[in-house]
Amino acid sequence: MIEPVALKDFFITFFSAALIIMAGASYALLFAWSKVNTNPRIKIAAYFSYLVLLVAVVLLTKAANFSGYWLTLSGVMVVGYFFAPIGIWYLCVKTHAVSDTQQATLEDK
């Protein structure tokens, strides 16, 4: 069952939903950057972005009146947006590593 957003929460609903995507992408970008640049500030900035995402998820959960199984969505966003960039980075390294090895073998030949 869904409970519609209250009039007073219109803006915060739009804003927090947009912020989830923006902060999620910002976290992903900074997380990936921290992997190619050793500056520790980048990693801190990445976690700060994730913190913003957490706050945005809490705001959206309240504004959109999530209850019951809808709370699972909040959980999925919190967990999913944290691990997705890590998993995708792992995929990048693996997919490129295979082709890098093949390229090196070809060059050796």
Binding site: A18, A25, A28, K35, V36, L73, G80, H96, V98
Partner: protein
């Protein structure tokens, strides 16, 4: 001036124009000549899309403008139909462009492909003329077959629907037969499977059901599974091939990521379309499915961000076509903001019940269509024109490079401006018309006459004009870029 003189004058003007553009078709293979035919019609329809969009935008401010002569309903219909068709033309052109190189052989059934092009172009011309010449009248079985099917966004009459499916099947034959004669690849496999869906899903929009909910259920298959799912995969294929040619990215990498994109699309995109099943009488579980999977839809975009950063950190790319790469970068941002941010802002049912079908949807639609699809087509136009000129140098220091840079800036700034203006109008509309006044007629008029809605429409017109100016500059640039250039394009080494 009599008809004969008019005819001769037109012929002379056309000959002068051909001399002025100085494009040599002998630089292109037979398959690529067919491809550029599709691109030419795509650009003409892009122009029509913006022209009718501007007229419709003017009618929002001056409702009597062209009233009873060219009504808003017709302008809006041509505006949206032209957009869908020009993008489809662009995608077909892109596939014909890459087909010979990817398969390593000439296109099989090229004559049939050429015939299909002329049949499709003739049909599109007739359909648009009928839209414009027969704007009102009784809705009968004959009007459904000959004039207008009456379904929003896919108004083409039934005869044209059948023609579109036949042309898609010929296109499918060209692609499959060519890969079968030449060689198959991961890109070829994904493309072929996607074309099955492209031709097949359109059929879902060609039958009626008496129950309006059932009717809408299938109608959304064409609008969203066709446009969002099959087009997204098609863009993935085109993007993968472009990245190999423009940046020298290795085939294995683009193919692997193409598979990942398809997997993510199946994992989140298809069920994410559940957000279009809200409020049409479908069972309540669609609210949950649509809401949950819509929240997962931005994950491919997050993947793109991480991958772009990985590549930027690991390789220093050179590219041979700066305008095309600039448009691919615009695609990444436009897709992320238009589909990701603007989509998720109003996709959960708790808020979507107020925003669905307001100018908010139009705001999302403008940025998402431009960002995800128009940009990749324009990138490919530049790739094609480079080869049409004889594979010439096309970097930032090319003569008159300001044109492509300004066209890029005007088109993007114009669309972003329209998006923000429509967002303001949509916010006001969903607030006043839907939430405060409960979707009543009174609420509709209160919202339409509200000062913030009306000023937003003026701003939309202004940014629409900016977009239109950008398109005119883009067409000028496409016709002239690389003219007189003698340097050959930079050779791209695979990374």
């Amino acid at each position: 001036m009599n008809a004969k003189e008019l005819c001769e004058g037109s012929r002379a003007n056309y000959a002068n124009f051909i001399t002025w553009v100085a494009l040599d078709r002998s630089n292109l293979s037979a398959g690529r000549q067919l491809s550029v035919n599709y691109f030419i019609v795509a650009v003409i329809l892009f122009f029509a899309q913006l022209l009718f969009g501007m007229i419709a935008a003017t009618q929002f401010i001056f409702p009597n403008f062209l009233y009873d002569w060219l009504d808003f309903s017709v302008n809006r219909m041509v505006h949206i139909n032209a957009m869908i068709v020009w993008m489809l033309y662009g995608f077909i052109g892109c596939v014909y462009w890459l087909l010979e190189e990817e398969s390593g052989t000439d296109i099989v059934g090229l004559k049939l492909g050429k015939l299909a092009f002329w049949v499709l172009t003739g049909a599109v011309t007739i359909v648009v003329l009928v839209y414009l010449l027969i704007q009102t009248g009784a809705g009968k079985d004959s009007s459904l077959w000959l004039i207008n099917e009456g379904r929003e966004y896919i108004e083409a009459p039934r005869w044209a629907d059948i023609g579109i499916v036949i042309v898609m099947l010929i296109f499918f034959y060209n692609v499959v037969a060519t890969f079968s004669k030449g060689k198959w690849s991961g890109i070829a496999g994904v493309l072929t499977l996607d074309l099955v869906a492209l031709a097949g899903l359109y059929v879902a929009g060609m039958f009626y059901m008496t129950n309006i909910t059932h009717e809408q259920f299938w109608w959304w298959w064409v609008i969203h599974l066709w446009v969002e799912a099959t087009w997204e995969v098609l863009v993935g294929v085109i993007m993968a091939w472009s990245l190999m040619k423009l940046l020298g990215v290795r085939r294995q990498i683009v193919t692997t990521w193409l598979y990942i994109e398809v997997a993510l699309m199946f994992g989140s995109g298809i069920l994410g379309l559940g957000h279009h099943y809200f409020w049409i009488g479908t069972p309540e579980y669609w609210l949950t499915i649509g809401g949950f999977f819509s929240a997962l839809e931005p994950i491919p975009l997050v993947a793109m961000v991480v991958h772009a950063m990985y590549d930027a950190g690991s390789h220093s790319f050179k590219n041979s076509n700066h305008p095309a790469v600039a448009w691919i970068i615009a695609q990444a941002f436009g897709n992320f903001f238009g589909a990701g941010v603007w989509g998720f802002m109003h996709t959960l049912p708790q808020i979507n019940m107020f925003t669905h079908g307001t100018q908010w949807s139009a705001s999302h639609g403008h940025l998402a269509f431009f960002g995800a699809y128009a940009t990749i087509n324009i990138a490919f136009f530049y790739l094609a024109i480079q080869h049409w000129r004889g594979d010439v140098w096309m970097n930032s220091d090319t003569a008159n490079a300001w044109r492509w840079k300004w066209a890029l800036g005007l088109l993007n700034a114009g669309v972003v401006g329209m998006t923000v203006a429509l967002l303001i109008a949509g916010y006001e509309q969903s607030f006043i018309e839907r939430a405060v006044e409960g979707s009543t007629w009174g609420g509709y008029f209160s919202a339409q006459n509200h000062p913030s809605f009306q000023s937003a429409m003026v701003w939309r017109w202004f940014f629409g004009l900016m977009t239109f100016s950008g398109l005119i500059l883009l067409i000028w640039d496409l016709l002239t870029i690389g003219k007189g250039e003698t340097r050959k394009a930079q050779e791209i080494v695979e990374h």
